[in-house]
Symmetry: C2
Subunit: 130 residues, 2 copies
């Protein structure tokens, strides 16, 4: 099964501009073209775009994703580099998860204060005057 850029755009909620931008930045070095030069996306490409979205959503800069893509095209002699990169990135994602949980707790306690104004003085100095 093959897909046009428009179909991929809709599938991932990425604009066509963004997909072309990713390609231009070297994130999809393996993308094929039809005889008129249009991009043709395969299932493999869709899976790789999922991975791009995953890495992007977890804060990896595009240059680093490109590095990973480049390593992938270079074959098995780069397996270790790729594994190290992903393992380091995994640690960052774990920290993001922890941070996000703490942030959620802080937001929850703020909301609780709005629900129970009598708690206000226990809170953060009380910037939120009630």
């Amino acid at each position: 099964m093959k897909y046009s850029i428009n179909e991929v755009s809709k599938k991932f909620g990425l604009s066509i501009h963004t997909l072309r931008y990713y390609d231009k930045e070297g994130l999809m070095p393996f993308l094929e073209r039809d005889r008129t030069g249009n991009r043709v996306f395969s299932e493999t490409d869709l899976n790789w775009i999922s991975m791009i979205c995953c890495l992007k959503n977890t804060g990896m800069p595009i240059k680093e994703i490109k590095q990973y893509a480049d390593w992938c095209t270079q074959g098995m002699q780069t397996i270790n580099e790729r594994k190290v990169m992903l393992t380091n990135h995994r640690k960052k994602v774990l920290m993001q998860l922890e941070d996000l949980k703490k942030d959620l707790n802080l937001i929850d306690s703020k909301i609780e204060v709005y629900d129970n104004p009598e708690l206000a003085q226990k809170m953060y100095g009380g910037l939120e005057k009630q």
Copy 2:
């Protein structure tokens, strides 16, 4: 207890430039100055900066944080707006948490493939040639 901008900078890992930028953007409408015009941070200010960091880290744009700060300075007639904003933001943070967990799973499964190359063909079309 009062703090200089330098102390606050170190406490939060925000640059002095960033703190002044936040102030300029209206994120700290309550900040006091000493007689020579230097910013003086109180405990309340530190707690509010924690909240700024929390909202910023969870993806709230600075303009929206400013809106919240403005509502805070307007007193209790804006309590409902503030509560609605935080409640909506909370939903987004919950979604971020879910997304982050999914992304972590994907990264984990990738790493697992690198640890067990024989799993490779089960994975994502196998862009990562091994």
